[in-house]
């Protein structure tokens, strides 16, 4: 045994004061568009489809988190996931349901129904998800994932998948907490010379 008296950090280094309500979108979500939590209006989170006017805020949020500005990439994603084939492509944003001035987009999630890649039956794929660092740990991520899961189920698939970087602890902790576990596929790669 090598316990050595080391203490385990109890708050995960977070310790941020909570400003939003911790009320969560209930498991049985009524609709993915205009989903509201049961919290008081100005404190709750609303998840809806992205609009063209949200894209600058999405770009800014992504740049804040990844350190890379990719306006063109996000405009292209909006064109492909925010406007076309909406029954199988989902680009959602979360905002406080009581309107407030300034920053309104608290986070986003993007996913789609994918079928028959390496023999996989149709499933819901989540391929991008971020929440504003100032509003993390208040259920925004869960609201976004609940909304997209609801749409996947409505589209007739019963499995949801994602692929996250092994060193992205936040993504891993989050998806695990939502009861996602390793699936039957392994990601492989090589340098092309």
């Amino acid at each position: 045994m090598g316990a050595g008296g080391r203490r385990v950090a109890a708050d995960g280094g977070g310790g941020r004061t909570r400003t939003l309500s911790r009320n969560r979108v209930p498991h049985a979500v009524e609709s993915a568009v205009d989903i509201k939590t049961r919290a008081p209006a100005e404190k709750s989170v609303r998840v809806r489809r992205v609009k063209a006017t949200d894209i600058p805020q999405v770009v800014a949020l992504d740049q804040q988190i990844t350190g890379i500005g990719k306006a063109e990439y996000w405009r292209d994603l909006y064109a492909r996931y925010g406007k076309r084939r909406l029954a199988e492509r989902f680009f959602f944003v979360a905002e406080p349901s009581g309107k407030r001035a300034g920053k309104n987009i608290l986070g986003f999630v993007i996913g789609e129904i994918r079928a028959w890649e390496f023999g996989s039956a149709p499933c819901g794929w989540v391929f991008a998800m971020s929440v504003d660092p100032d509003t993390r740990l208040h259920g925004v991520g869960k609201s976004l994932l609940d909304a997209i899961s609801f749409e996947f189920r409505k589209a007739g698939v019963s499995k949801m998948r994602t692929m996250v970087a092994r060193d992205n602890r936040l993504h891993l902790l989050f998806f695990r907490s939502q009861e996602m576990a390793a699936g039957p596929y392994l990601q492989l790669e090589k340098e092309l010379d």
Binding site: M1, R7, V8, A9, A10, G12, R166, E179
Partner: protein, 142 residues
């Protein structure tokens, strides 16, 4: 990957206590459930106490209580208290001087990294959810 007995006992004890936050349980209460000797478990509980994950409560109804943060304490946090996992190569224990050993250590390091990422992403709270789900499934099938 094989976890030492102490590591497994520590995880069982933490899950048992974290799932019953209002109860104080003695070493023999926990030991009886998992068929573990009180002597071995007492050492494990002491180490968990030093890490701030459990608290000993004195008195007639004394015992141990979970005192960590269930949604922030990962399995890796617990495993690292008992296993010597300073770096992936420490886990594999392979000397990379020959090319053959280098190739094998690359594979073992890959497995170790996946194991660490997995253990580091699962919290006590997530484990309790898994246990709860199984309990419900068992209830439904009886």
């Amino acid at each position: 990957m094989k976890l030492q007995v102490s590591t497994r006992l520590a995880i069982f004890a933490l899950l048992h206590l974290a799932g019953r936050p209002d109860e104080q349980l003695s070493v023999s209460d926990i030991g009886d459930k998992y068929g573990i000797s009180s002597h071995h478990l007492a050492k494990v509980m002491h180490a968990l106490g030093r890490a701030g994950l459990v608290r000993a409560v004195r008195g007639a109804r004394g015992g141990y209580q979970f005192s960590g943060n269930a949604s922030r304490t990962t399995l890796l946090d617990v495993v690292q208290l008992f296993e010597d996992w300073a770096s992936p190569h420490a886990i594999s224990g392979i000397d990379g001087r020959t090319n053959e050993a280098w190739a094998l250590s690359k594979v073992v390091a890959e497995i170790d990294e996946i194991a660490q990422a997995t253990l580091g992403s699962i919290t006590i709270a997530t484990m309790l959810k898994l246990i709860d789900r199984r309990r419900h499934e068992q209830k439904r099938s009886t």
